[in-house]
């Protein structure tokens, strides 16, 4: 699907840019965005190193496993194929809590550590597992308890009550998260996505081997 969306964005941009006489701007945006992407990635190095270091200590100290055990029932429901008390569950919990608290800087490294842990259980390294898709659904529609950025903008622009959007934001983001996870869970049952499921593929191979 990313294939189609990416192609669509590229082609539409060039076509509409040509019609609007903005091809120059489009070209500049392409070059600038490429540099920005590298800057963002490299800018992550320090903060990533810090949190990956701390997380390694948490892992060796058994903290991640304790966290995973704490939410065992939820973990089982959301990620049925992840073994019980696996570190991936604890890491995902830490990432989500950091996200919900609005700690974006800490959330990303924790999330990537969780992805690494999920990938270690993946039998097909270039294909997303169902667990990964559910985890990303939780992240792309993240529950927002305090939208700090927007509150700051509202305060700066002289809002009488910059905080009044907290409850509406929380409810809307909660709905978004429930919808994204439900969609992930339902879509994974479609034949076309079952066919590419790395977990099932392994099982099919096993069956073939036995025959």
């Amino acid at each position: 699907m990313l294939n189609y969306i990416w192609l669509f964005l590229m082609l539409v941009s060039i076509l509409v840019g040509a019609v609007n006489g903005r091809l120059g701007e489009v070209t500049k945006a392409a070059v600038d965005s490429a540099s920005t992407a590298v800057e963002i990635s490299l800018g992550l190095i320090g903060i990533m190193a810090l949190w990956l270091g701390i997380m390694k200590i948490a892992e060796k100290g058994g903290i991640i496993r304790v966290l995973a055990r704490l939410i065992r029932p939820i973990g089982k429901f959301l990620f049925p194929r992840i073994p019980e008390d696996h570190p991936a569950i604890g890491l995902m919990l830490m990432n989500l809590v950091a996200n919900w608290l609005g700690l974006g800087n800490a959330a990303t490294p924790l999330g990537l550590k969780a992805m690494e842990s999920l990938q270690s259980l993946n039998k097909k390294k270039d294909t997303a597992t169902n667990a990964m898709v559910v985890f990303l659904a939780l992240n792309t529609a993240s529950i927002c308890i305090i939208p700090m950025t927007i509150i700051a903008v509202r305060t700066e622009l002289g809002s009488k009550n910059p905080f009044e959007i907290i409850s509406t934001t929380f409810l809307a983001s909660l709905c978004a998260t429930i919808a994204a996870v439900t969609a992930a869970k339902l879509l994974q049952r479609l034949p076309s996505f079952k066919k590419t499921d790395p977990d099932l593929e392994e099982e099919r191979k096993d069956e073939d081997g036995r025959q």
Binding site: M1, L2, I5, L9, S13, I14, V16, G17, N20, A29, A30, S33, T36, A37, V38, S41, I45, I47, M48, A49, L50, L52, I54, I57, A58, K60, G61, A98, L112, E116, D126, T127, A128, M132, V133, L136, A137, N139, T140, A141, S142, I146, I150, V153, P162, F163, I165, I166, S167, T168, T169, L171, A172, C175, A176, A179, A183, A184, L187, T196
Partner: protein, 203 residues
């Protein structure tokens, strides 16, 4: 029947929102202090527990931190691909075309045409959608209905394409299967619920 159902739903949401709103100052103070304390707390507790459990904290920290560079570099191609496409889209003026196509539909559900660009930009770009929202807040005022709605829309969902590029990129996953569809479903529902909830709460 449908009417009474939607009224009942509206009442429940207003009641829930009111309950949160009335304790808001206390709630905000608590959450803010918790957010501020979370990181120092982690940086204190994790090494301490590690030490108690006989982990060689310094050496293990270095071991873990080493990975930071590799992950950051691994993300680059994924992020270049997605940010270039989105940057070109924004520069081309294609947004206006989309607003024209979608505005008859959004008018039906009571979404003001002014916030439609926010809805289209939100899954694509965090800074892009924040820019549009800041403009709207300046033009219409942060306490107008449009201002409140646009503010709510920003937090109602995350920048789906950025998250997908970074998270999948970090482990080298190219076939994302139904992740985009699930993420966009979340975006769509979050944005529509923002309209509905704001209509009920702010009228």
């Amino acid at each position: 029947m449908v009417d009474s159902l939607s009224y009942a739903l509206g009442d429940t949401i207003s009641a829930a929102a009111g309950a949160i709103q009335s304790h808001e100052s206390l709630f905000v103070v608590l959450m803010k202090s918790f957010s501020n304390l979370a990181i120092p707390l982690l940086l204190f507790v994790v090494p301490l527990i590690g030490f108690v459990k006989k982990v060689k904290v310094y050496e293990v920290f270095i071991d873990g931190a080493k990975e930071g560079f590799n992950i950051a570099v691994r993300i680059i191609p994924y992020l270049v691909a997605i940010l270039v496409a989105i940057g070109m889209f924004r520069a081309s003026g294609a947004m206006d075309v989309f607003v024209r196509i979608f505005s008859p539909i959004t008018r039906l559900i009571g979404m003001p045409a002014e916030v439609l660009p926010v809805a289209i930009m939100r899954p694509l770009s965090g800074s892009g959608s924040l820019g549009i929202i800041t403009d709207l807040l300046k033009t219409h005022g942060p306490d107008s209905f449009i201002g409140r709605l646009a503010s709510t829309m920003f937090g109602s969902t995350e920048t789906t394409f950025y998250v997908l590029a970074v998270y999948f990129g970090s482990v080298g996953i190219k076939r994302t299967r139904h992740a985009v569809a699930a993420g966009l479903t979340g975006d769509l529902v979050g944005l529509l619920m923002a309209v509905l909830i704001c209509r009920i709460v702010f009228g």
